[in-house]
Each structure stands twice: as structure tokens, then as C-alpha cells.
């Protein structure tokens, strides 16, 4: 084919006649989506910081030196500001930049783990109810309604305080509470697909139900799953920050961003950067994840943008 099109000059080549390949279109959509690129870049930067926190941090996150407490960050017009502590130090003299870097680990880890647990629960319930319908759908709907009527923050606070706070407890409590959006979205996505011809064809061929769900349904609802996963990871990070802020999440001396805001609360009227920096970090991380999720949705299903 190619030899024919290159045989005579003046005639367009095959590449010019053919439409751009699906891959090329996808790449164009990805790189044309500013939000997606910004979100991915910021998230990658934060992941990098979290992974290499030990290497790139200027100090130790737990190292308290009271003689150097409450040093303001370098943009502050104060003689005390020093490049030794670019973001200053907290009330116990711990380097703020170091704590910020290590805090990224906690946020990302809790966010990802809680999202993972809730994703498994929600996807299983949603796909089951969407695929089987009828009684199964009724039962799942009932569980979902019950879950939605429980106040998340309150139940999470109560359970964490009763059981005792630890990373594992926070992850499980959040994971068991925030699967609702997974279930809702996976259910409607499965409902749309289960009556299509290729599912009927697989049924006619005698494929087992688990096989149909895993090889016919799941790959086709994967993009929805990824979008919800990003939103729920952001949700889990915000909830962890709120729990830690209220003193019932990550416990001192761990450098959780929510806890850092909480610890600085009493001094915020004098040293406002103490709450500004960790708060901005949570905001940036959650914003990046949300932008990434919205971007993925726009790129994989541009027809549902509104």
C-alpha cells in the first residue's frame, strides 16, 4: 500500500488520507487537557517528595530543638528567617519543610489504602447489583441507603476514638465508610453494558458468570472506576486531614498535614504561616487528584462532559 502512494509525486500519501489513529487522537486529547496535565504534574511531584522524603529532607521530622523554635519561612520579613529552614520551624523547633515532606507520605498512603478498600467493596456491590438486578439490586440498594444515612465524619470520629487511633484503624474506618460512590457509579455503568450484544454473545457461548464479569464487563467500566477512584482518594485524604485536625486521626509526633494545622491552631494569629503551609499542601494535593480525575473522565468519555 505504502509503495503505491509513494510511487507518484503530487498524490497525497496514505497517512494524509487516513484519519489520525485512535492512539494519536487520545494523545492529542490528553495533552490538550490543561487540567489533566497540571493535576498529573503536581501529583507526580508530591509522590516524588513522598517517596524520597528521607533523602531530600533537610532534617529529621521528629528532631526537636527548642532553641530554634518558631523560625518564620524565608519570605517572611524577619531577621530570624534562614535558608537552613526554608519553611521555618514549628513550636517545638522541628523543621517545617521536613515535616511537610514526610506528611505527604501519610496523606498519600492513607488516601490510597482507604480508596483501595472502599473500591473493592463498592465495585463488588455495584457490579453485582448492576449485573444481576432484581433481588440482588434491592439488597445492595438497601445497604447503600443505610450507609448514606450514616454521618461519615461523626461515625469515623466515634469509631476511631473508641477503638484507639492508629494508621490501620483510620484506613479501615475510612475504607469501610466511603465506598458509596463506587457502588453507585459501577452499578449504573454495569447496567448500561450488561444488555449489549457482546455480553449476550458470551452468555450464549456458555461463559461462566465470573468470567463474563471479569473479561467482558470490568474492562469496559474501567475508565469509570479510575475516575471514581481518584475522587475517593481525594475524599479520603480530606477526611484523614479533618480527623487528624480534630485530634482523633494520626497521632503526634507523626507529621500529618491535618495534625500540623491542628498543632499550629493556637499560634495562628501570631504565626499564620504555621497553618497556611500544611493547609495549602492538603489543598494542592486534593486539587491535583481531582483535576487528574476530571481530566481522565474528559479524555476517556468526552461525550459526558456536561
Amino acid at each position: 500500500m505504502a509503495s503505491i502512494s509513494t510511487a507518484r509525486a503530487g498524490i497525497p500519501t496514505a497517512e494524509q488520507i487516513l484519519e489520525p489513529s485512535p492512539g494519536a487522537l487520545l494523545r492529542k486529547r490528553i495533552f490538550g487537557n490543561t487540567g489533566l496535565i497540571i493535576g498529573a504534574a503536581v501529583l507526580l511531584a508530591i509522590v516524588f517528595v513522598a517517596v524520597f522524603a528521607d533523602v531530600i529532607s533537610p532534617g529529621d521530622p521528629y528532631d526537636q530543638v527548642l532553641s530554634r523554635k518558631l523560625i518564620p519561612p524565608i519570605w517572611h520579613e524577619s531577621a530570624k528567617a534562614t535558608w537552613e529552614h526554608p519553611l521555618g520551624t514549628d513550636a517545638l523547633g522541628r523543621d517545617y519543610l521536613t515535616r511537610l515532606f514526610h506528611g505527604a507520605r501519610i496523606s498519600l498512603f492513607i488516601g490510597f489504602a482507604a480508596m483501595f478498600i472502599s473500591g473493592i467493596i463498592g465495585t463488588a456491590l455495584g457490579v453485582l447489583s448492576g449485573y444481576f438486578g432484581g433481588r440482588v439490586d434491592m439488597v445492595v440498594n438497601f445497604i447503600l441507603t443505610t450507609r448514606l444515612s450514616l454521618p461519615v465524619v461523626l461515625v469515623a470520629l466515634a469509631v476511631v476514638s473508641l477503638v484507639g487511633s492508629s494508621l490501620t484503624v483510620i484506613i479501615w474506618v475510612l475504607g469501610l465508610l466511603i465506598w458509596d460512590r463506587f457502588a453507585v457509579v459501577m452499578r449504573s455503568a454495569t447496567q448500561q453494558i450488561r444488555n449489549l450484544e457482546y455480553v449476550a454473545a458470551a452468555q450464549a457461548l456458555g461463559c461462566s458468570t465470573p468470567r463474563i464479569v471479569l473479561t467482558e464487563i470490568m474492562p469496559n467500566i474501567l475508565n469509570h472506576l479510575i475516575v471514581v477512584a481518584t475522587l475517593e482518594m481525594a475524599h479520603a485524604i480530606l477526611l484523614e486531614a479533618a480527623l487528624s485536625f480534630l485530634g482523633l486521626g494520626v497521632q503526634p509526633p507523626e507529621p500529618s498535614w491535618g495534625l500540623m494545622v491542628s498543632e499550629a491552631k493556637g499560634m495562628m494569629f501570631f504565626d499564620s504561616w504555621l497553618i497556611g503551609i500544611p493547609g495549602a499542601a492538603i489543598f494542592a494535593l486534593v486539587l491535583a487528584i481531582n483535576l487528574l480525575g476530571d481530566g481522565i473522565r474528559d479524555v476517556t468519555a468526552p461525550e459526558n462532559r456536561n
Binding site: G35, F142, T145, T146, L148, S149, L150, P151, V152, V153, L154, V155, L157, A158, V159, S161, L162, V163, G164, A234, L238, A241, A242, F245, L246, G247, L248, G258, V261, K265, M268, F269, S272, I275, G276, G279, I282, F283, V286, L287, N290, L291, D294, N306
Partner: protein, 305 residues
Amino acid sequence: MLAYALKRLGVALLVALTVSIIAFSMVYLPGDPAMALAPESATEADIEHIRKVYGFDRSMVVQYLDWLFHAVQGDFGQSHYLNEPVANVIFDRLPTTMLLGACAITFALLLSIPLGVIAAIRPNSLIDRIALTIAVVGQAMPSFWFALTMMLWFGITWRLLPITGTDSWKHFVMPAIALGYYVTPGVMRLTRAGMLEVLASDYIRTARAKGLRPVRVLFKHALRNAILPVVSLAAVQFGFMLGGSVVIETIFAINGLGFLAWESITRADLPMMQAIVLVLSVFYIVLTLLADLLNAFLDPRIRVT
């Protein structure tokens, strides 16, 4: 309609019953509640005494039924910490939280519905972009940080608003914004999507072709149809918000149900915790029930399914 309403009511009751089991058994998660109540110096005999006094020595099922039997009559037992009937304390604090919630949802709707409508009239315009930015930023802002930042600027730097308490309407401005802004993205997106869909429909074209004034088409014909899902979302979000008020009330020292919840959690006041979780859940169940019934009343298609 009646058949649908009865079926929906039955489901709501069943959900409420399930929630009551969860709210009740939640406090037994760590094991023995008597151990949690006892001071550190308590002997085995003291703990046994506590077990007897509070009835923890009975079986879980008996305790639950006893609690439920009294709860439906409005008796949630005695607060371990305040030594007052739980119900009295809750109904003392509830109006403050309701007022805060009402202010917050009003703020959210006043901001998000106009923005959503304008964004739908001129898609991809500057205002649409601004509305989208507000939505994206709003969803990413941790509410406690937003509240503290507002406190710092409006309360301390510019001295415009009081930072804590509930003495005047001014005290409710910042808490209402902090609580309500989280609702705005969802409401705005739903308004925008609904308006876009309605504005593209045939009857709007007909209304325009008849020569009706654009304002009339927009508000009388389009918005009235697009607002319906927004109303049910607002009802649902109001329920969510009361649960979320725990953070905001703690920050602004507002003596409502959220603050009470936080106090009772930190003091391990078990009957209070059970009651607050149950009351907020039932409130949410009632709100969604009313929203569903309203929708079914206005849109007959829903009743059939």
C-alpha cells in the same frame, strides 16, 4: 401514588432500624464498655459494679431492644458525663445546628444556582469558566483550613466579623460559608447540566418561537424544570451538612449538636454518641424520604418503577 409512598416509607423504616442497630452496637466495638467507663484506678469489683449499674451484664440483644424501646419514645438514657437526660441536651443544642445548617444551605443555593444558570446560558464563557473554577477549588479545600483562614482574614486582619460564639447574625456568617461552600460545586454542576438539557429541548424552542421574552422563557419555562433535581440534592446535602457541622462548630465554638458530638466523643459519653448518630441518621432518612415523595408527586414517571 399511595402505593409508592407506602413502599418508600417501609424502606425508610427498615433503613432507620438498621441504622439504629449500627448506632447502638458501634460503642461495643472496643469490647467491654464498662472498662472504658471505669477510671484507671478501678478494681475488678468496681468494673463489675459499673457493669451492673449500666446494664452491660445483660445480653447485647436485650440491651439493644431495651434501648430502642426507650429511644422511640424519645428517651435516650442518661448522659454519662453531664448527668442529664441525653434527649434534653440534644434538643437543647439542635436548634443552633439547624439554624447554622439553614444559613449554610441558603448561602450555598444563593451562590450556586445563579452561577449554574449563567454558566448554562453561556457555556464556555468567562463566567462558565469562573463557575467551574469555584467548583473545582471548592471541592479541594479542607473545610477546617478554609474556616481558619477566613477567621484569620475577616476576624483578625480586617476585623469585620466576630470569630467565635453565637450572639448575633454576624457570628453565623463565617461558619455558614465554611459549611455551605462544600455543597456549592455539586449544586452548581447539577443546575448547569439540568439547564443545558432543558434549554436544548423542543418546548423551549417553541416558547422562544412564540416570541416570549427571554427572561420569561428562562425562569418560567426552563428553570422550573431544571430545579427539581436540585431541590432533592439540596435536601440530601442538608442532611450531610449537619453531620459535617462537627468540624465547623468545633472551630467556631458554636454550641450546637456538632460540638456536642465532638465533646461526647472525647469524653467517651456512650449514650450521647449513640443518640446523636441515630438522630442525625434519622433526620437524613426523613429528608430523603420527603425529597423522594415530592419528586414522585411532581413527576408521575418515578412512581411506576
